[in-house]
Amino acid sequence: MRPLGAVLTLTGISRYKNNKLMQISCDDIALALVGAETPIFAALNFNLKGPGFHALFGPSGVGKTTLARLLIGQMRPDSGGIRIDGCPRRLYAYNLERLPGWSSVGRHLEKITPASQRPRCAELAAAFGIEPVLGQRFARLSLGQKNRVNLIRYLVQDFELLIMDESLANVDERTRGRIITTIKTLFPDRFFLYISHNAIEVARFCRQVLVLRGAHREPQALTVPGLDGNGEAAPPPAMEKALLTIMNAI
């Protein structure tokens, strides 16, 4: 297993930040999970260019989380290559994470937020609607609040790529919209890969949607455009077209 965590080189950051050359490429990825009868990936190919707010979409069990783990190096493919350019610092957040229980949420965020990001942290807390619960223990929060708190602590870290695996599960639709819009506004130069089951959401907010179709399909993945909206309501025809494109891609 490749080491977790981001590998940081100062010259790399400045070059990639200036060039904005960010992309994720997978070339003929094959992977069979231990104990599974069929491989989860067989000749998976795609190319996603960043920065921006992109989606990873597909039915349950198709391998979205597995792909995310491959991208951050927690797993290795059986064959094939993964290339990630412009994103030396990669983070992966998922919806089952917890904060330690010995301090309040606010205290925890304070501890893990770099000094330069403190104002950003406060801004995110207000935008995500978790200011009222900052004094509470994580265990006492609702599921939606927990997911939002968890997302904030990743957003205040240094990263180029953030994979969000169901990070807005249990959050109501309006708040989700507001959160995604805030992320896109505050972090325009980052590469986000948003794993979601919500076709309308990914169609509305995401620039590109990587649709995983299953190892038995050819091609196994398709990249389709989203509307890349910013909170305003999308025109119904455009929305309908984007949705159809996504659903047809599955």
Binding site: A6, Y92, L99, G101, W102, S103, R107, K111, I112, R137
Partner: protein, 254 residues
């Protein structure tokens, strides 16, 4: 908590005593076999001062031994938590060595070290060390992925934080084994004293056995039970305080 522990013990003791006395009067046994209430009371008056001092002596050795054992188990458990050669060695050694009955080794320890305080302390520490170590190894060797993931992926994980996370998440298990090891330490110290020491309540019980004096043994058991009940209540209270403290005040390394 304390009152409940004590009255639970008193109930158990009273039932045991009632059974003995019931047998005595049903079978018409003399005070030599099972002492009657007047003789028990008289014996209590004769020995309670000396036996209380002996019990506290044994108790202090047991507690001291338990503290050493907790420190040692924590240290070794933290060192041995990783899947390295040393970690695996520690785990295998702990599982195997814990099977040796320490009280069977006690006579050898007494021969080598004499029958003083240090020997009793060593035996008390060894008796409760292995159960503690196994629990600490289990706790420290089991990642709490949902919490640790953030720190690992952001490069913030340190061994102190890892230990703190795993200890906090398994606090109940740890406090339970600490409370259980208290009884183990006390019982082991008493047995060690019984075998070969020259101090403590176990030694007094041995003398009482030489004298075939069941009354003295009953008094000794009573004092041991009270002492243990108070101690376990204290441990439960301390465990609850630790829980409450970690839950109510802000702070922490994370």
């Amino acid at each position: 908590m304390l009152a409940r522990r004590i009255y639970q013990f008193l109930i158990v003791y009273a039932v045991g005593l009632a059974l003995l006395l019931g047998l005595k009067y049903l079978a018409g046994l003399s005070d030599y076999v099972i002492p009657g209430p007047p003789l028990i009371w008289q014996t209590f008056h004769e020995v309670y001062g000396r036996y209380t001092a002996d019990t506290l002596n044994t108790f202090s050795v047991a507690v001291f031994g338990q503290v050493i054992s907790i420190g040692l188990a924590t240290g070794i458990g933290i060192l041995g938590r990783q899947a390295t050669w040393f970690g695996n060695f520690v785990k295998v050694a702990a599982y195997n060595v814990q099977a040796y009955p320490i009280v069977a080794l006690a006579p050898i320890i007494f021969i080598l070290l004499g029958d003083g305080f240090i020997t009793r302390l060593v035996i008390a520490a060894m008796i409760c060390y292995f159960p503690l170590l196994l629990v600490v190894l289990g706790v420290m060797g089991e990642p709490v992925t949902e919490i640790e993931h953030f720190y690992r992926i952001t490069g913030r994980m340190r061994w102190q934080l890892e230990v703190k996370i795993r200890a906090f998440e398994n606090l109940h298990k740890l406090t339970t084994v600490v409370a259980g090891s208290a009884t183990l330490a006390m019982a082991g110290t008493i047995v060690a004293e019984f075998i070969a020491a020259n101090a403590g309540i176990g030694y007094s019980i041995r003398i009482a056995l030489y004298q075939s004096d069941l009354g003295k043994i009953l008094i000794a058991l009573f004092l041991i039970g009270i002492c243990l009940s108070v101690y376990q209540a204290l441990l439960e209270w301390a465990g609850a305080q630790v829980h409450r403290r970690w839950e109510t005040i802000d702070g922490g390394a994370a």
